[in-house]
Amino acid sequence: MRNPFLAIARTGIQTQRELFPDLPAEATGLPTVTAAPCSGCGECAAACPTQAVSISTDTQGPVVTLDRGRCLGCQLCVRACATGTITEDRSTRTATRTRSALMHSNRPQLIQSAPAPSRRFMRSLHIREVSTGDNASDLEVLASTNAIFDLARFGVHIVASPRYADALLVTGPVGRGMHDALFRCYDAMAEPRLVIAVGVSAISGGLFRDGYAEANGVPNDIPVAAYVPGDPPHPWSIIHGILLVMGHKCEPACNNDPLAGVIGVQN
């Protein structure tokens, strides 16, 4: 008789020790804008399927603005850019606490500052997931809970009811058919409550934006505490978004020493 426990013992510990490792060389990340001078050719904007990139001019020359909140990560703009102004970025620490921080540009950005997150959930956060039309992101949320990424090591648990959830994690563009259910779920949560928008469709509607289905992402009347770009985001990026709302210091960059700066001691 084969012994399943021997099989488990033989596979050893699967959990990644390094937190938020950069994506490996063979992977492609999200695009970003560098200081390399832009020629203003407009190829990137023409290539982008979601109008996430726009080009304008100011006194210093062409201005590139790239909105990761609308970006699919298809790399067409990176491939179109001959000057290296738009390049790929393999960081998995891509989540932000404000919508404007998703804007990348070759000019200093006006980034609204987000109020310092409360540290109330620093040690433990219970999350209710609501999916609204992007099942790849659901699978990546699920993957973040597996033995490799091990979301539970940060005191985070996915729970079955909004009644005992501290945070609501939304995937998908929230079309008209899901508005009501999402609001009811949000209303069922006790305060304080946090909302995390995971994936480009939850952030802006992505490809579905401005259609008759009104699938424009998490509606404006629900305040969002963290945005996780990508279509779908990498499990590490999802964990990044979750740790941000818990008040961990992992923005914009934390060192890779496990637990340092991530599992905070302050309370």
Partner: protein, 502 residues
């Protein structure tokens, strides 16, 4: 060789449509594929039926134009039960009415959430009827009680509503109501420039990125009469099989989770992770997004990565073959799965159940044997096959397909041809043409059906996800089972809600 095919198109009338279709379906190897409608101009609409001649590997189209001013036609469902949801979809999207449909009501556009007059795909001057409000089937009798579940479920899972009518703990009827995730994809696909339509087409069910992208690319290439280079075909095959492998491995773990067999639930997610790492190696990301495009693929596999990928496949094969028996030969697991959620071969046939669920219920149907896509039918495996139609049969089919996918991956990686990876596409699609991409995605038969109009613009884009057939299979399979067995039964089908809701 080119993939262009002149489609056989039969024009008929709405009154003869049902009888003609039924007669054609008696031909050996002929299957019902999909039913939809298409605006001919602002006022007129035609019902379109797609039949699949599996013996010839050819689609066959039947078109029945409705007279201007009419929005009623005789329903096909009484003769062809598999069309029952598709006809209700015509009610929602085109404001048509299939007269004589046994359960006529709206399907995806819920009356309390969408304007009653909305018919998103109907022409501006087309005659329409408002949707028939939704009412759940009421099961009556002493002791019958209802359990409503959803749209939001307890796990990390898509939304949908399940209405169980039960006698004690036994399910007597399950009605599945979906549509919550309707995003208007088919309409949007006619609004975006065709060369950017692949992004939306791929997002029809984003957990099937390779399958949807391949169906889209195959349809576009058919319209253009082009064949992608041989290396691109091989790389597409890798993407399609890695997707099947990753999802089937994930399903094995999830089934163990629902049974409460923790060793299985612990062993399989890392294997799925390993399959996703292969995907990332090949395409640049775990979900193989934006890799397959009309004309080819977007990135090549250099020699070093090919070797690494082959090594990874060999490694994964070894682990999968070691771990699968731990589940499928475990007496406790077998006891739970055997006889649960049975779907009989006769009902599977009548309702056109496809993919692993169809093959578990006696259907010998695998698109890879019949229709040109990726390296098929040349590399088509012998379809896995069971007659019992229970959870165990579906699990065994998936386990076998894990094996065949691994074999196909090894074979393709060892024989990767040398050629460019894409070809340049013309600026326009041909006018008034039809392209149909049919793919064996990991859940089964996936169809992207594109019609162009004046100047080659896409005027109708219909997508049929395998789940669209199979949800009915789940509803039938759970009858007579314990409510508590529903999660296990549901997982053994593992259907897409968003692919169904469009």
């Amino acid at each position: 060789m080119t993939t262009t095919r002149v489609h056989h198109q039969i024009e008929t009338t709405p009154f003869e449509l049902s009888a003609r279709t039924k007669a054609l379906l008696t031909q050996p190897g002929m299957r019902y594929g999909h039913l939809t409608a298409r605006s001919l101009d602002e006022a007129r609409v035609a019902i379109d039926i797609l039949l699949l001649d599996t013996a010839q590997g050819q689609p066959l189209l039947l078109t029945a134009p409705l007279e201007a001013g009419t929005c009623e036609y005789p329903a096909l469902t009484p003769a062809i039960p598999a069309a029952h949801w598709a006809e209700r979809m015509l009610g929602d999207f085109f404001g048509l009415h299939a007269v004589g449909h046994p359960r006529w009501k709206s399907l995806l556009l819920h009356d309390d959430r969408w304007p009653m007059a909305l018919c998103p795909l109907a022409g501006a001057e087309q005659a329409t009827l408002p949707r028939t409000p939704y009412r759940f089937l009421k099961v009556e009798g002493e002791g019958i009680h209802e359990i409503p579940v959803g749209p939001i479920h307890a796990g990390i899972i898509e939304p949908g509503h399940f209405r169980f009518s039960c006698l004690g703990e036994i399910v007597t009827n399950l009605e599945i109501r979906l549509g919550y995730q309707h995003r208007g994809i088919e309409k949007r696909l006619t609004e975006v420039p065709w060369h950017q339509s692949r992004f939306l087409a791929e997002s029809a069910s984003s957990d099937t990125a390779a399958g949807n992208a391949l169906a889209h690319a195959t349809a576009i290439e058919q319209l253009l009469g082009i064949t992608p280079p041989s290396r691109a075909i091989a790389l597409r095959t890798l993407a399609l099989e890695i997707e099947r492998l990753a999802n089937h491995l994930g399903d094995m773990g999830a089934l163990c989770g629902d049974i409460g067999y923790s060793p299985g639930a612990a062993l399989f997610p890392p294997l799925r992770g390993a399959a996703l790492a292969l995907a990332q190696f090949l395409t640049g990301n775990r979900r193989q997004r934006w890799f397959i495009q009309p004309g080819g693929v977007v990135r090549d596999l250099d020699a070093a990565r090919r070797r690494a990928l082959l090594h990874g496949v060999t490694d994964l094969a070894k682990q999968a073959h070691e771990h699968l028996p731990l589940v499928l030969e475990h007496s406790g697991v077998l006891e739970r799965m055997e006889g649960a959620g049975r779907l009989s071969p006769a009902l599977a046939r009548d309702f056109g159940i496809v993919g692993p669920a169809g093959r578990a219920s006696g259907t010998r149907y695998d698109i890879r044997r019949h229709f040109v896509h990726a390296a098929y039918p040349a590399l088509a495996p012998v379809p896995a096959h069971r007659e019992t139609g229970d959870v165990l049969a579906r699990a065994q089919i998936k386990a076998e397909e894990i094996g065949t996918s691994l074999d196909i991956l090894t074979h393709v990686l060892e024989t990767l041809p040398d050629s460019p990876i894409d070809i340049l596409l013309p600026d326009r699609l041909p006018a008034h043409a039809v392209g149909i991409g049919i793919v064996e995605a990991w859940r089964g038969e996936l169809i992207h059906w594109i019609t162009t109009g004046e100047a080659g613009a896409i005027t109708r884009y219909a997508i049929k996800d395998p789940s669209f057939n199979n949800w009915t299979g789940l509803a039938i399979a759970i009858r007579g089972n314990l409510v508590a067995d529903f999660p296990l039964c549901n997982k053994s089908f593992n259907l897409s809600y968003s692919g169904n809701d469009m």
